[in-house]
């Protein structure tokens, strides 16, 4: 499996799992219709408790990334088409608030507007246009 957890990290395990699955969705490594391993098998592979994985899955379900269907387990959803406008707007608001927070901290440390835009643009390029992609 493509997942691994860092027990010594400050970030809770269930958030690490969620973040890595979201990252896989972003990169296309996981596409709509793909199945995730069951909470029990993934917990076994990672060496963590079942409930820790279940918490990550429940969060992904609440955020619209996956759907649960009885025995079929967790399946990646097409969040682009399925997403409720409410969830989409909620996400944009959180994103905006986080960007404002980061900009404020940079300004407090003597950073400039252009420096913030430059760093943000560099990360946008790194994430959306990774090297080795014909985009």
């Amino acid at each position: 499996m493509f997942l691994e957890v860092d027990l010594s990290s400050d970030e809770p395990i269930y958030r690490q799992i969620r973040a890595q699955i979201v990252s896989a969705v972003a990169s296309g490594e996981l596409a709509p219709g793909d199945s995730l391993p069951s909470v029990r098998s993934l917990a076994g592979d990672l060496g963590v408790n079942m409930h820790t994985v279940n918490k990550a899955y429940a969060m992904l379900r609440d955020e619209g990334y996956v759907t649960m269907r009885g025995r079929s387990g967790a399946v990646i959803a097409d969040i682009t088409r399925m997403a409720s406008p409410a969830r989409a707007q909620e996400h944009r608001e959180r994103l905006t608030a986080e960007l404002a927070r980061l900009a404020t901290e940079l300004k407090a440390r003597g950073g400039t507007r252009d420096e913030f835009v430059r760093l943000a643009t560099a990360q946008a390029d790194a994430v959306f246009c990774p090297p080795g992609q014909g985009t």
Copy 2:
């Protein structure tokens, strides 16, 4: 005082206090040399425990925002000149990692590179070039 806390917020009180002081430094409301209220008086004004304020002050000291001098209390530092290169680089690395995380989540939800850059630029303008400033 310009500070207030939201007890019902998910954000810990000591982080709220820290964030608001950093924000005041960013806006210029607090300038190098300005004194902060004592941990006891601010705790009394906010209706929280002394240790909660002390935790925020200790964090600000560790980050280089303020200096402590015995009875003189907490004084805003000139972080632009005083900041150790190590702290500055550490902050930039954290900022870069957070920007990458936000960009990844937007991409996972079907957002585009340009949309991320647009949102980041808008927040940069809002924070660095607030309305009613001759900049």
